[in-house]
């Protein structure tokens, strides 16, 4: 049983959060990872999530929102089941990152921060993801895919569509 009655999170996540707030010298240190894990659990950081996180951390909802709005990975609206994040920063740009981004746009029929109508994919152009030496690179959810070509992207999309890609958690 979670310390919070009627938690909106899955039992595993609620248990994890119960523990997370206890491990630091200061409770609030749990906030940034908790927001990200909440997003993994729910797909985005909903109003209800903000409310429960505020309770758990023992701060105002406003303080949660202040932090939430700072970090680029956190979102307050759902993304696709598979969030495709294409890097176009310098090392990737030099090796075809923009070509990959264009290919994804074309293939998925959506633009930056948009979701396909079936909710399966969303697309984002992102800054350097720390895979510069294996450029061009992207992440689908948390999985890295390196040395991309348009053909490789097609294969990856098909795998994810067929349920062979990995899930968010």
């Amino acid at each position: 049983m979670s310390t919070i009655a009627n938690t909106i999170f899955s039992p595993e996540m609620a248990a994890r959060f119960d523990k997370l707030v206890t491990i630091y010298p200061v409770r609030r240190s749990a906030l940034v990872p908790m927001l990200l894990y909440a997003q993994d659990d729910l797909g985005y950081v909903s109003d209800a999530a903000v409310a429960e996180i505020a309770l758990r951390i023992e701060i105002l909802e406003l303080d949660v929102r202040n932090v939430l709005s700072y970090y680029s990975m956190l979102r307050t609206k759902p993304a696709g089941k598979y969030n495709v994040q294409v890097c176009t920063n310098i090392s990737c740009m030099l090796r075809g990152g923009y070509e990959i981004l264009d290919h994804c746009k074309h293939k998925l029929g959506i633009g930056h921060k948009e979701v396909t109508p079936d909710g399966v994919f969303s697309l984002e152009e992102v800054e350097c993801i720390g895979a510069c030496c294996w450029a061009p690179a992207m992440q689908i959810n948390y999985d890295f895919h390196d040395d991309l070509t348009p053909e490789k992207v097609d294969v990856l999309f098909q795998m994810y569509k067929d349920g062979q890609g990995k899930d968010v958690k």
Partner: protein, 438 residues
Amino acid sequence: MPTLVSHPDEVKVISRRFGMGATDIDKYVELDGYKAVQNAIAEGPEWIINVMKASGMRGRGGAGFPTGLKWSFVPKQSEKPKYVLVNGDESEPGTCKDHVIFLHDPHAVIEGTMIAGLAIGSKLGFIYLRGEYRYLLKIMEKAVADAYAKGFLGKNIFGTGVDFDIITQSGAGAYEVGEESALMESLEGKRGVPRIKPPFPAVVGLYGGPTVINNAETIAAVPHILLMGGEAFAKLGSERNGGTRLFGISGHVERPGVYELPMGYSLRKAIYDVAGGVKGGKKLKAVVPGGSSCPVLTADEIDVGLDFDQMGKAGTMLGSGGIVVLDETVSIVEFALRTISFYQHESCGWCIPCREGTDWIKKTLTRVHAGGGSKKDVDNVQYLAENMLGRTFCPLGDAAAMPTLGFVKKFRKEFEDYIDGKKAGTPIITVDQLVGAH
């Protein structure tokens, strides 16, 4: 999965265990793991700091501050607990070296954190990884759990009566959080807005306690340095630049990858020998030598040694060791625009010179790139960048201004020709694409 590369000129110290299965704790121990920390416990803080001073190790996060000296600044007596904070935010474009450390040798990061803790009298260390590195965080989490299970972490480690704990932490996307004071803010559950200095973290850091903050590579090198001895490590490098470091060579080269080279190694050789030369036999145009914030070098400026001092003399920086190679097809106008777009996006907005400066440079270069620029625009970009330098609250402002100045000063003619309709290079970015995300 990042490909492991190798070259005969490499000197493998930090990367010694890469590809050897050292994520497994028994394998790590078999490969001399957790020996250095036991020596450190036996020898004591002064010995550790002296070895680190003798090693000539300078921080691998970008600024190159001597590690032993940094540790010696932490007051011996402190009412508040002291902390070690490992910086694995790794977000400087062109940089992916910590990525391979977490992937291949997580226990070296743990052991280095413990040794740093022993040196300063801390009982708790944090290892902070950028949020995007979830799979690497999982590797780190498992390594930490295994170390606890063996009694290497926690109470009475190795039966010596010493206690040490480690907490792994995830970020959630922010380049600025790599700046050490913003990193502490983030770890305290706040927006990543930097703190004023002084006081420096060594005196007033995390939760107000004295804190040592080091880059993940700096920390991973520590056990190796203790085992081989400070002088032996120093000798591998160049004057005042001890040891080896992981260089990420990316962009237009035949064999991009993370290579461990001695400090002071020739930049020309790194590009032409180690990374196999410019891709497709094309001509070299320019090199950004240490991550995107370092001023560009032209093709005839690459006969320089890769250490902090020699790069400084060459008018640029060694930075994070991310060498980005540009061939003759690159439009510097476009490259400069993409670079400033990044800094504009990442500026935390706290201080005006950085928030406004990055925005106006980006706007001006966007106009130039779209074909509507005037010669005055190049002057304006230079003027803006010059007026940001040294006037911002944290070094991100400088990190944006310095490369911009490099581009407009060294390639001024290319900017002017571009404005006159004579565009060099093959365009990559379309106007639409820029309006999109950035």
